[in-house]
Structure formats: C-alpha cells, structure tokens
C-alpha cells in the first residue's frame, strides 16, 4: 500500500480530501483518504477503526453460549450467518450432532438474512448512484423478513437464534404460512425493483467498467463472496464444502466474468433468486413439529416444564446457566458463506467453558482492502460506486 507522496503534495499537483467518516455513502463510519489530481483519484486509502469495539477481547471473558451474542453484532445486517459460523465451529470442536430439522431451520434463516442483507445493499447502492425511491421499497420488504426473524427469535436485529447444539426456541405456530406468503409475494417485489433499475441507462453507465477487480487481484487480496464470484471464480462454500445440510439443496452458484461493479451487482441480484429457491426447499423439509436442539443435556438447556419436576434437569439448567459447558482442548476453523463472503471463526480452547482465543475472520475486512485497486485512476464519483459495489459492513470491518 502506497501512501501519498509528500513531494507530489508539496508541488501542488495533488490534494488530499477526506471522504467520511461521517458521510452517508460510506455505509457506516468509513473514512477514505483520497489523493486527488483534479477529479482523478491518484490513491484511495481506507482508514478504519472508528467502530472498533474489541469483540475478540470481550468474547474471551464470556462462556461459549454467551459469545453468540457477540457474533450478532459483527455483521449486524446478516446476524444469522455469523451465528451459524460460530455455532458450527463450536459443534465441530465438540463433535456434536445437531438434529436434521434444526439444520434445515438454520439454512432457512441463513438464506432469509442473505436476502435481507442483499435488499439493504440493493437499496443503498442504487441510492448512492442517485436513484432514491428503490431504497424505500427494499427497506419495506426487508421489514417483512425481520418480522419473520422476530416471530422466531423474539428480536429483529440481534437474534442469537442459533445456539450451540441447535436453536434457541422452536418455530412459532403459523410460521410456515408466513414464509409461504413471503415466497408468494417475492416475484412481485423483484419485478417492481427491476422496473426501476433494469436497462436503466443512468445506472448501467455508472456501473459498467467501473471499479474493476481482476481474478488474480481478488485472490491475492483474499476477496471472497460476490466480489470474487463477480471476477469469475465460482467459489461458494455452500457448494464446495457443504455445511448444515446444504448438500441436500438444489441451487446454482452465480458468477460473472467481467469483475466490474456491474458484474458484482448482477451476482447479488441473481443470488437473491437462488436464496429464495433454497428457502422454498427448506420450508418443504421442515416438519411442523420435531426436535429443534440436541438432546445432549450437557450442552442444551432442558425444556422449561422438565425443570419444575425433575431434579436432574434443574441441575443441568443451573450448571449451564452459571458455568457453561466445557469444550475439549484444541483448535478449529469453520467458515460459512455469508452475504459478503467467507465468514469464519477460529477458536482455540484450553478445555474450559470460555474460549482461550476467539478469532473472527470477517469478510468485509478483507474485501475493503481492495478499495485502493478499485478506485485507482477513477473519478471521485466512482469511489462511491466502488464502496457500494463491494458491499462492506463497518461492524464487520472494525470488529
């Protein structure tokens, strides 16, 4: 990474402009230090850390089940995928079997959050390009998905719905019908969105050939997710290393070869359709009643009614709530395909009930590193396009 050349600055050839940290189009508190030669960007350097909250340090003082709440807050637009990566990592280390029904419900929610996250991206990205109205529609429809999350988990934003061993609660009554309504309405939503941007020359001109990332650069800079798939490599952990029963679902990996903002745009739009296909299939597989968490009482809380009549259940409840459960000594890495790329957790356990090291491999942190390449020799207006097109989430970047 090259910083601004002081001699160029002294000559008055270039000037430094700060974009952010308080700027609506940076999607949070990102600051980009732009070195400009007129309208042309000589160098763009992201300056991060404004949202640093020390999650990794916090997690070391929490039990494994409590750490779940920290994962929600990393990428707060897709909390379920963070939950999923974390609980899968712990389950892998403990060699814990999760009931099939719980795995399907996890898939359902992971895909619902992917759609919700892509809707926010679509609205904000197109708003950055100057089309205001789409934002209102996508946020309205995202609320429908958040209502579903609220119905199951009790909260909209930081659900912590997935727990080590399964889920926090079973699905509420009538949940299937609500999701069916969503599936029924979905084509109408997408059609109304597409009327606004598809074939729109203003949007196409702002995207085509802008912020190009070649495949080689994407691999070198560890970009993952739609940013890598937009450069032509069909890498998707759901297909390549299926977790949580993803191998039983039929969907395709969306790729484009151009590597520009337009390619990444359409990869995400296509992904929304694929996610809806998975949601439909998951709904078929989820039976209305059945186990939603492991029967291993050393890990999962006993049902409420058991606690009042069963001494053993009371002891388990007390032990789990006060001390947590021990996790065998060792280390583990588990990645899942989040809306922004590979969301992974690397955990080191010393055999106790709290993680010794809790490392989050967050996709936006790596994707944002490509910004200097995307902006090089472009115009200032295209910096905004570049930031929107890599779909960063500052909670994810700054941890």
């Amino acid at each position: 990474m090259v910083t601004a050349d002081p001699e160029r600055l002294m000559d008055g050839e270039t000037m430094i402009i700060n974009l952010g940290p308080q700027h609506p189009s940076t999607h949070g508190v990102l600051r980009v230090r732009l070195e400009l030669d007129g309208e042309r960007v000589v160098h763009a350097e992201p300056v991060i850390g404004y949202l640093h909250t020390g999650f990794e340090k916090t997690a070391e003082s929490l039990t494994y089940q409590q750490c779940n709440t920290v994962t929600d807050r990393l990428d707060y637009l897709a909390p379920m995928t963070n939950n999923l990566a974390y609980v899968l990592a712990v389950e892998k280390l403990m060699n814990l079997e999760v009931p099939k029904r719980a795995q399907y419900i996890r898939v359902l929610f992971a895909e619902l959050t992917r759609v919700a996250s892509h809707l926010v991206w679509l609205g904000t990205h197109v708003m950055d390009l100057g089309a205001m109205s789409l934002f209102f529609y996508t946020m309205r429809e995202r609320e429908v998905i958040l209502d579903l999350i609220e119905a199951a988990a009790g909260v909209r934003m930081n659900p912590s719905y997935f727990r080590v061993g399964g889920l926090a609660y079973d699905l509420p009554d009538g949940f299937h019908d609500k999701v069916r309504d969503l599936i029924k309405d979905f084509p109408r939503w997408m059609k109304s969105y597409r009327n606004l941007f598809e074939g729109n020359p203003l949007i196409n001109e702002r995207l085509e050939g802008i912020a190009v990332l070649t495949l080689e650069q994407a691999l070198d800079w560890c970009a993952t997710g739609p940013n890598l798939r937009g450069s032509g490599l069909p890498l998707d952990l759901r297909k390549d290393e299926p977790y949580s029963a993803y191998d039983e679902f039929d969907f395709k990996v969306c790729t484009r070869t151009e590597g520009d903002a337009y390619a990444r745009f359409w990869v995400r739009i296509d992904e929304i359709y694929e996610s809806m296909k998975i949601i439909e299939q998951a709904l078929e597989k989820i039976t209305p009643h059945g186990p939603y968490t492991t029967s291993d009482r050393k890990v999962a809380l006993p049902p409420r009614e058991e606690i009042y009549g069963n001494m053993e259940a009371l002891i388990h409840q007390f032990k789990l709530v006060t001390a947590g459960f021990p996790v065998p000594r060792g280390e583990v890495y588990q990645g899942v395909e989040g809306p922004r790329g590979e969301m992974g957790f690397y955990l080191v356990s010393d055999g106790g009930p709290k993680p010794y090291r809790w490392r989050a491999r967050t996709p936006s942190f790596y994707n944002l590193q490509t910004l200097p390449i995307l902006c090089k020799d472009g115009l200032v207006a295209d910096v905004i396009t570049a930031i929107g097109s890599i779909d960063i989430m500052l909670g994810d970047v700054d941890k």
């Binding site: 991060i48 990794e56 340090k57 280390l93 560890c222 191998d247 090291r357």
Partner: protein
C-alpha cells in the same frame, strides 16, 4: 464433504525435512514451522501446491509460554477446496517475516496482529496501528492486558 488433502503434510515434510512439526487437529491439516522457514514454505505452498489464497492471519497469545505468540495462517486452495493451517511461533522482542510479498491481502491482518498483540512484521509496507489510535498504550488482546478496571497513573 471434507476435501482437505492430508497427504500434503507428507509432501511438505519431504520438501523441508526435519523442520516441520505436525499438529493433530479436528478439522484440517496443520503444521508448525520455524519462523525463518515460513516464507520459503509459503512460496512453495502457493506456487507449487496451488494454495493461492491466504484467508486469515490470526495471532494467539500463549502467555507465559516461550516463545509467547503463535501466528496462525489459514490457506485455501480455491479449485480443490482444500485447507491448510500453518503456524509459527515468535517471541516478544522478535520480528515475524511478513507474508505481504506473496499475499498483499495479509497487509491488514498483520497490522491488526501488531495493533492488538504487538507482533512486529519485517518487510511490511506499513507497520502501524490499524484499529486503535496511534498514541494508544499497550496491546489489548494480550493475556496480561486487563479487560476492565480503572486506570491508575
């Protein structure tokens, strides 16, 4: 399901005899490498074995063990979908060779390791703090850095 390639450890041991140490883990092939060997190993693994992505660089503080820090690199083969974990140990006053020459994307995670653990990297283009302010004292993710408490000056 699991497409990892455990035989890579045999090939690496044949290529770098007597320097690598295998570590048994539940998920992926793992080796421990002396830190002066790590760049040679990375170059071999990237160019010959095809592990062209470095997904993550994480530091672990094993205080009070010596050497204190352990750096964990997660490598990925993007067409065979195989994973490899390379670990290396470094002491408090020592420097770690930077992998930015091979993977420019390790730039930020190495800065993060410097910021939060105080591990320095030789050959890194910009060895400065990334999250915390420049004048911050201490490295928060070290085990001897308290989580809470009032500061007494």
């Amino acid at each position: 399901m699991n497409q990892n390639d455990p035989e890579i450890l045999d090939r690496l041991e044949a290529r770098f005899p007597g320097t690598l140490e295998r570590i048994t883990t539940v998920d992926q092939p793992t080796i421990l490498v002396p830190k002066d060997m790590i760049l040679a190993l990375f170059e071999h693994v990237k160019n010959t074995e095809g592990y062209t992505m470095c997904l993550d660089v994480a530091a672990v503080d094993n205080f009070p063990a010596q050497p204190r820090f352990e750096l964990v690199y997660h490598l990925y083969h993007p067409t065979k979908y195989a994973r490899l974990r390379v670990k290396s140990r470094v002491g408090v006053d020592e420097e770690m060779p930077s992998a930015t020459g091979l993977w420019p994307g390790t730039n930020w995670p190495e800065r993060e390791a410097f910021d939060l653990f105080g591990v320095r990297f030789t050959g890194h283009p910009q060895m400065t703090r990334i999250y915390l302010p420049e004048d911050w004292e201490g490295h928060p993710l070290r085990k001897d850095y308290p989580l809470t408490g009032n500061r007494v000056d």
